[in-house]
Symmetry: C2
Subunit: 345 residues, 2 copies
């Protein structure tokens, strides 16, 4: 019964192969530094013993763990789950393992988790968005832990980011909505506190209005938490003023848009004939609901993959690569129709 036998160590391999532990270690880590004949003998020994390096010992001696941490708001949201998936794939591909922690969208919890993962020996960190205290960056710098920010692009971020421009995305969509002839717009935004992505989306919409000769005040914004029911309630409030109803409602994300769709249904409004509704993110169900949702497509998978690549590059070269901005694209589907003025032409 090999049941309680200790797993083989470097020593065991070294003995069997008739070399020193240093040579075995080199065989495993820098094979080109050892001559072929020796290498073969060592590899044979490794195989016959079924040796696996002890992770903790290796991490301690080499002072790095080959582990990358990710702190995300939640995996409940397909947006992050999907990006995390491709992040993990790319990491595994390069011999790194993924450590996951979630912050539930709370900056203080995020800070805790970052510190926890750092203590856990993460070689690098994936962070979401920009809203956090500056001390965190100081902490990471002092501990020399490379980090990249994803899901949001900002040119002057303290660490490289691989994301998209939330503001530009929403601006493009809002511009298209305005081009359809809508002049009275409403917006159901996500909670903007501690969430720069949500805030930038609001700003993008406002910018589009201003560019079209309107003012920011022409956009009535209501914030709603990430939830179908909350969005539904928000839509009802938005449509409550009989004299000043919007003809199009921009939603901060697809979940809110679906809630808005439900709200419109409740009010007996046809979409898009009576009311246009748009989303953001292009989640899977965006083309599954009816009407299908006009929304902004976000390159989730590309973002995760790019984040992994950037991080690995930082780890390998020690340099700080420049940020990369990924493109978004407006997806025109059924929930956006022409505005009332266009109709009267």
């Amino acid at each position: 019964m090999p049941d309680d036998e200790k797993p083989p160590t470097l020593h065991d391999v070294a003995n069997l192969a008739g070399v020193s532990t240093a040579t075995v270690s080199r065989c495993l880590n820098t094979p080109d530094k050892v001559v072929a004949e020796t290498r073969d003998r060592v590899i044979a020994a490794v195989q016959s013993l079924g040796y696996t390096p002890n992770f903790a010992a290796r991490a301690m001696a080499a002072r790095r763990s080959h582990t990358i941490g990710a702190v995300i708001p939640t995996m409940d949201n397909a947006i992050f789950a999907r990006g995390l998936q491709s992040f993990e794939e790319e990491l595994t591909h390069h011999g790194y393992t993924l450590l996951v922690a979630s912050s539930a969208y709370q900056t203080d919890r995020e800070e805790q988790q970052i510190r926890a993962l750092a203590a856990r020996g993460a070689d690098g960190l994936l962070l979401i968005g920009h809203d956090r205290s500056p001390e965190i960056y100081a902490f990471l710098a002092q501990r020399q832990i490379p980090a990249v920010i994803s899901w949001a692009f900002k040119a002057d971020a303290p660490v490289p980011c691989t994301g998209f421009d939330n503001r530009a995305g929403m601006r493009a969509l809002a511009t298209d909505v305005l081009a359809q002839g809508h002049r009275k717009l409403g917006m159901i935004a996500g909670i903007t506190k501690g969430n720069d992505r949500a805030l930038q989306r609001v700003k993008g919409a406002q910018e589009a209005l201003v560019s079209a000769g309107l003012t920011e005040d022409d956009l009535q914004v209501i914030e709603a938490r990430y939830d179908v029911e909350a969005a539904k309630a928000a839509l009802l409030r938005l449509m409550a003023q009989p004299d000043d109803r919007p003809t199009a409602v921009l939603c901060g994300n697809d979940i809110l848009a679906v809630g808005a769709l439900r709200g419109a249904e409740d009010l007996g409004l046809r979409v898009p004939e009576d009311l246009s509704i748009t989303g953001f993110d292009d989640l899977e169900f965006a083309h599954l609901v009816s009407p299908t949702l006009t929304t902004v497509h976000v390159p989730h998978r590309a973002m995760g993959q790019q984040a992994a690549r950037t991080l690995i590059q930082m780890l390998r070269t020690g340099e700080t690569p420049s940020s990369v901005e990924l493109p978004t694209a407006v997806r025109h589907r059924g929930s956006l129709g022409p505005g009332p003025e266009a109709e009267s032409l």
Copy 2:
């Protein structure tokens, strides 16, 4: 500039507090074994130095990492992402960290990942479903790594499981469909190879038919990969025989059901008047599509949480707790209507 200063170690703390490293270690791990006065002094030293234990050294000396690994098919699927989220929450709550690896639904990749996480020093493992080679269990037993299986229940599994009975869930749903008067049933199943969950769902449907006095052959089953388009194609094939069309189509999961819904739309069939369609999983969009989807609700979050609890219990006590089966529930919504015989009454 404290920029290149090494982080403080146990020694530094011990020196500052005027005690030995052993005492500091005890303060941190078993505070009740050290007298209050000493403890206070040590804690003060820890704080003033900003000391954080070195994870790798700790893992090596204590021979455990306080890290749990999870090998899931993919986070792209909300089913797993959601369960993983609650798994992570519960883990964090107990001081463990989550290591994630994905298998892309391939058993050989799963095996690799299990070995990788074991080598990575995972104290325990979360696995999905039952289909894998027996050697893996031998490997885990030999390495003494506790594991739990989730997302599927099976009484005689080699390790505890915290899941639901896929077969019973589908049986219950199919029974309800039959009770609506449907006699010609079709099924669009997920790929059953290497996926016991998909297979059990087929079997559950067959059992319901048999219980209702029909035979297994009365259920025409087509497998489709996890994809809206594939399911749509499958529906077209199912409805291709003019003489023998099903009046209700059971789908192996909600994604397939939505695909089927789209296929029905293409064929000009009204759901549920002309054709009933059901799903499985109760994903978020199940009540967002139209018609809303009759499906089987699965307790994702409870499953993840329970899995974490079971695993932690195994780690703490060394015992093997018994499996826990979580209930599923049929959710009746708009996509299931009465069968043709019932109509003619």
